[in-house]
Symmetry: C2
Subunit: 749 residues, 2 copies
């Protein structure tokens, strides 16, 4: 599938993962696995109410309990010293004035044992004034909705609102004249959709160990996707200088975007500061569900116009995303990405970011895009059927290509959507027969990908092996992909390289491992660091040979005299120069710091076959194929894993996962028994096809692959279920009762 | 006292130490303070014999004991894969074929508890063939001495020896014609001296936590002066690639050279590898004494000739150093440094490095020099008295200065010996009256100082604070001195800098913190890294101003347009540029790797007053003054601490400390109750004078200060005691029985 001429030696191979044995044998150190002498246990008291004013908190009895060493409330932090951009984070970490959702932290204690900690929490007296609450996005947008924030006025709206509301932000994207576009259409379809909030569902709950010294220096061990971000936010909340806090990232038992926000870390630091001891906090699963991570529930309206021969004339979308207590929804990305797959003359999307009495919204893999794709690709499928066109042919006809002006603004460079559609067309899955009650769904999807701030180092050891240091936690196998790219660039064996994730004191700032940025940007920085090391090794050889540095070049994995006048010398290998570092100037290293741009966008096209049980509404996934552009797959097994993982999370989101709230605004299914994620027995093997259309912004053509794979599944499955059930499904999850009701309603109607 | 014109802002101030509060409150993490889930306890079985052939070791009963997870003997390591330079280290870590001293490790076990470990050790059956032993250096040199190594032939001797002996190495230094020199002398004094072996006496025993994974990657936490050295040696002994082992240095509770060698770390790694679990080993104090660290006992002969007017005409010395089981004595440094204080036309020293049935010799602060100085400066004092010259005047007349050809070869650059002697002359201590039974001793001393391989990084944070990363464990306050030099170079506040000791994966190779090299070479590298960062910050400002990089300069702590044509811009502060890093290219960092040369030698002159109790021989230190050249004192309080610490260790060595062996070759005083180190109540306040003769090899003039201070004390005290007791003391320690006997012998004779 590749277009690249270059012969790769290391990149594209499938070595064993360096963290595999440790993780399989249980010896890898996750967030809860570090301890310290004299360590205390930290525990939270959380609001039982969805919305309540905190009249007062009396912690005196808890503080007086023997074995309790520190008590923290919102007042323990000095908000006047916290930058305004972190005020919401602080308010979420520890409630101030109001509790905005069930599970909102209102106090925390550090004690010498779990049992004392539990006893102490019961002694904290909170005087709540319970307020009316709202959890549904449409209800939260209503004029008479209970207000979460009395001073919230929608940003970006013209005219500027004079009344506060739960709508924090308004966004608008697109180009052309949408009405003129619809006027050219032969067929127009308009539909509304709703999706439920889902949780990233990582196996490992948030955990950390904090240690503040009396002179204001701090250390933090935590499970995160971005320890530099954790450091900067925690330092801000604690009123510390950034350099005084040292954060080390543990191994991470899943993140998927959910570990890009701080929840417990500043509280652990504050408890440690007050107690003068190390403090460990580990969230329970219930806390994870109630007070971390979910993404938006949404309400969307899509209108698409097309000519009879299958050209899209206009696309319009309205996206209302429930953004949790602080209106942090990814609606902007939803509105930007919704129509990004298509080459459109007239397109318009608007987005509303809506506060509700739910946990603070956090990124979840391709934040905001899967819901929008579900809506758009559902209408696309309906349109293809209405026009009597083949699903893939219809998409191919309208697919964005190099030079297309994207629906969110920029013009695309080389992109691989058409290649994924064509690969799907020629895949035997697409032409396989279907049985009774079965349906096949197709959907394409898009993700931006991202570069960002990145700093790496590379140190050459005297035995010719290499240590590589990156600042981006390895959530998807990046230690292996980094090793492969360095092996490629240095011309040494992958086995001779060990990549580690450095703590925040050892490297410059690294953005979070998110936005599918790590393989791209840490890889790019490492390739540059390797070039830096190679240049230094050339200079060392020149010194050994006593010839000018310009008379030496790196060629065929060796240092060689360059040109006829350089002199006659045997080429020196990487290992030889490494062994002579001591005598030629000291240690050999390569470094690179960058704010990387040029991360290429990535497209994917998914196919899924389902069977719907007409008696129960139960949906069985029969076959699933992911086709996606990787630019260049550095470690194909990991790329396949990302494709499969995205599909599986999408299946859960499509069929079962949802936050279920009672009338009281309390979450009713805060556990894995009731929040139903797919397990192995629910799933077929997910088939994958790696398409490689090189990203011109990366020397090896690499594109991020982690997020695009979760964008098409819900739409593809909805299209398949709609075909099998004989009724268009417009609401997620398509759980058995909901599918059964839709089928019943369709029969009744 | 300084000669330097430069105005320092940060360097030379005395900020609080960054590790102070943690250490005082007991929260600093030393070698034994780290734990890991599932961790096992490692324990050693050690030889009860001074010299024995190991016929066999049966570990089967121990291995079968429930709770024992791994057993290691010498055979567990594959010596064929170990580089020859580490064969002795391996043999010392775990005996092979022979046990060479009491306490030599012969086996080790890892178990789930201390009690099981102890029980298991008793179940190991070792069949020893006890051999004759030798512990005294003169006896070990005798022709009929028991041989430790049947294949040891003295190196460097001409003709090459045909018979094996306990003498491993012969060294010779000097220049001129020694006989011609003595022929010119009016007075010649020749004396013999002996000194006892002493231990570095660090408070913290060796401790480590090792974790080997099944796929051959390793992590090690340990207490060491050089974790990069530990990594390289352990990787070699384990047959691992260097990059696969990651070593982190704990805080260190004293080292003084004694933590520059591996003892327990490879065994912990091997136990962990075999057990598949983390293994912690902590030495007991008895193990520390019996199987780590001591420096040589010695036997020396000094011959000095001088004219009546006090010019030295010739100096000769023979130095026989007991080098432990593997003949690792620092006799080379003893022979090199012995006459380094003086400007000599004719000088010759020879050194013999002698194996004996004692623990492997390890570096101890200015290794080899204090004993040689004791001998030389004793004869110098006697000569001054014989010639009727003032002690300081006599030394001043012969003192080495800039341009002097040193007794060990190189010609001195700018040095500060005469400045220390003059400072001593004008110090009121020198003219203070003495009472009955009191004496005053003077001695000068020298240490080479060292540069070596060094790699550092410096990362600028967005709030304008800075993280500094070095690879040299902080044994004497280097985090503070590094911060001061970076503050000086960057023109920011010391409080805005946090210096950390990086693990071995994060930086290029760093030589051990020894040779008084850290403040010099890590500082030098950091100053260069700071210059690197400043150059990058200039480039960032040029980008912001959109002018060429050459049109920007660093001036007065700000970035400014350079020259009239650069344009008119407000200077940008360090903090402003730091805050804009994101938008101007990403993180800002400075790096430097170097094999540093140019560490200036350092001289000191000590004065001490003692009182000898004529009835008991007990020596009381009445007053002590250290005068030493620091080049430039970066943090004067730490420099004073080094001066005081060296003096105190020298006092212990002079008066009480010694390894006492029984006839059976067993150490009789392996504990702090019987190995008598000075405590606070034994000591007066040690007065200090910092002389500053800048080292031309360092941009701030810094010289190492850690070792010179232990060189003069034994000689100075011996001179004082000899004066007070009325008899020349030629043997250390000058413990009460020995002083009493000398006085009795003198009376009787």
């Amino acid at each position: 599938m590749g277009k690249q001429d270059r012969d790769f030696k290391a990149v594209g191979t499938r070595p064993l993962r360096p963290d595999g044995v440790e993780k399989v044998t249980g010896r890898a150190k996750f967030g809860a696995d570090l301890s310290a002498p004299g360590m205390l246990v930290g525990r939270f008291l959380r609001s039982p109410h969805a919305h309540a004013r905190i009249r007062s908190i009396d912690t005196s009895k808890a503080a007086a309990l023997p074995g309790v060493k520190a008590v923290v409330t919102g007042d323990s932090f000095d908000i006047t010293k916290v930058s305004s951009g972190n005020h919401d984070t602080l308010a979420n970490v520890m409630a101030r004035d109001k509790a905005l959702y069930e599970g909102h932290a209102v106090a925390a204690i550090a004690a010498i044992s779990v049992s004392i900690a539990r006893k102490a929490l019961k002694l904290i007296e909170v005087d709540y004034e319970v307020l009316p609450h709202v959890t549904d996005v449409d209800e939260a947008m209503a004029a008479d909705a209970p207000l979460l924030h009395e001073n919230m006025f929608t940003a970006n709206l013209t005219p500027k609102p004079t009344k506060p509301s739960n709508i924090a932000n308004f966004y608008e994207f697109g180009h052309g004249d949408i009405e003129a576009g619809f006027a050219k259409a032969d067929v127009i379809i308009e539909r509304s959709f709703k999706t439920a909030a889902t949780h990233q569902g990582y196996i490992e709950p948030h955990a950390c160990l904090a240690n503040m010294t009396q002179d204001g220096q701090g250390e933090l061990w935590c499970c995160t996707q971005g320890h530099f971000m954790v450091r900067n936010v925690c330092a801000d909340l604690m009123g510390m200088e950034i350099s005084k806090l040292r954060v080390t990232a543990s191994e991470i038992g899943g993140g998927f975007g959910g570990k890009t926000t701080v929840f417990i870390d500043p509280v652990a630091l504050m408890l440690s500061k007050l107690a003068g001891k190390p403090v460990k906090i580990v969230m329970s699963r219930e806390e994870v569900f109630k007070a971390s991570g979910p993404t938006s529930s949404t309400s969307m309206r899509i209108k698409i116009g097309a000519t009879n021969d299958g050209r899209l004339t206009a696309c319009e979308g309205e996206f209302n995303y429930q953004g949790g207590a602080y209106a942090d929804s990814p609606v902007q990305f939803g509105a930007m990405s919704a129509f990004a797959c298509y080459d459109l003359e007239h397109v318009k999307t608007v987005g509303y970011d809506v506060a509700a009495n739910r946990p603070k919204n956090v990124a979840y893999r391709a934040p905001g895009a899967p819901m929008a794709a579900f809506a758009v690709e559902s209408v696309m499928a309906e349109m293809a059927d209405r026009l009597g066109l083949d699903q893939l042919e219809f998409r191919l006809k309208n697919a964005a290509t190099e030079g297309t002006r994207s629906s969110y603004g920029p013009t695309y460079n080389s992109v691989g959507l058409t290649e994924t559609i064509k690969a799907a067309q020629s895949h035997d899955h697409y032409s396989a027969p279907l049985g009774a009650n079965q349906g096949r769904g197709i959907a394409s999807g898009f993700w931006f990908n991202f570069g960002g701030q990145t700093a790496v180092s590379l140190n050459v050891q005297e035995d010719g092996t290499v240590n590589v240091t990156v600042g981006t936690p390895d959530i998807g196998g990046s230690r292996a992909s980094m090793g492969l790219m360095v092996a490629e660039e240095l011309g040494i064996e992958y086995d001779n390289i060990r990549c580690i994730i450095a703590d925040t004191s050892s490297l410059g700032y690294n953005d979070v491992t998110d936005g599918s940025r790590t393989t791209f940007s840490s890889g790019l920085a490492l390739i540059n660091a390797a070039k830096d090391a190679k240049a230094k090794m050339c200079a060392r050889a020149a010194r050994i040979w006593d010839i000018p540095a310009e008379a030496v070049e790196w060629k065929d994995g060796c240092v060689q005299p360059a040109g006829a006048n350089a002199g006659e010398f045997e080429p020196m290998s990487f290992a030889e120069i490494a062994a002579n570092a001591d005598n030629t100037g000291g240690p050999i290293a390569g470094h690179h710091e960058i704010n990387a741009s040029g991360a290429g966008v990535s497209f994917g096209t998914h196919m899924v076959d389902v069977e719907v049980d007409p008696d129960t509404g139960y949906v069985k996934i029969l076959r699933y194929t992911v086709v996606q552009d990787a630019g260049k797959a550095v470690h194909p097994a990991y790329v396949e894993g990302q494709y499969q993982g995205g599909a599986v999370q999408g299946i859960g989101w499509a069929l079962n996962e949802e936050y279920i709230y009672g009338e009281d605004g309390r979450l009713q299914n805060a556990g894995f028994l009731d929040y139903r994620m797919p397990v192995a027995s629910d799933l077929p093997m997910i088939d994958t096809v790696i398409v490689e259309v090189p990203n011109p912004g990366h020397p090896y053509g690499v594109r991020g692959v982690g997020e695009t794979s979760i964008v098409p599944p819900m739409a593809a499955i909805a299209n398949a279920v709609s075909q099998a059930a004989g009724v268009r499904m417009t609401e997620l999850p398509m759980s058995p009762p909901r599918v059964l009701k839709a089928m019943d309603d369709a029969k009744g109607g």
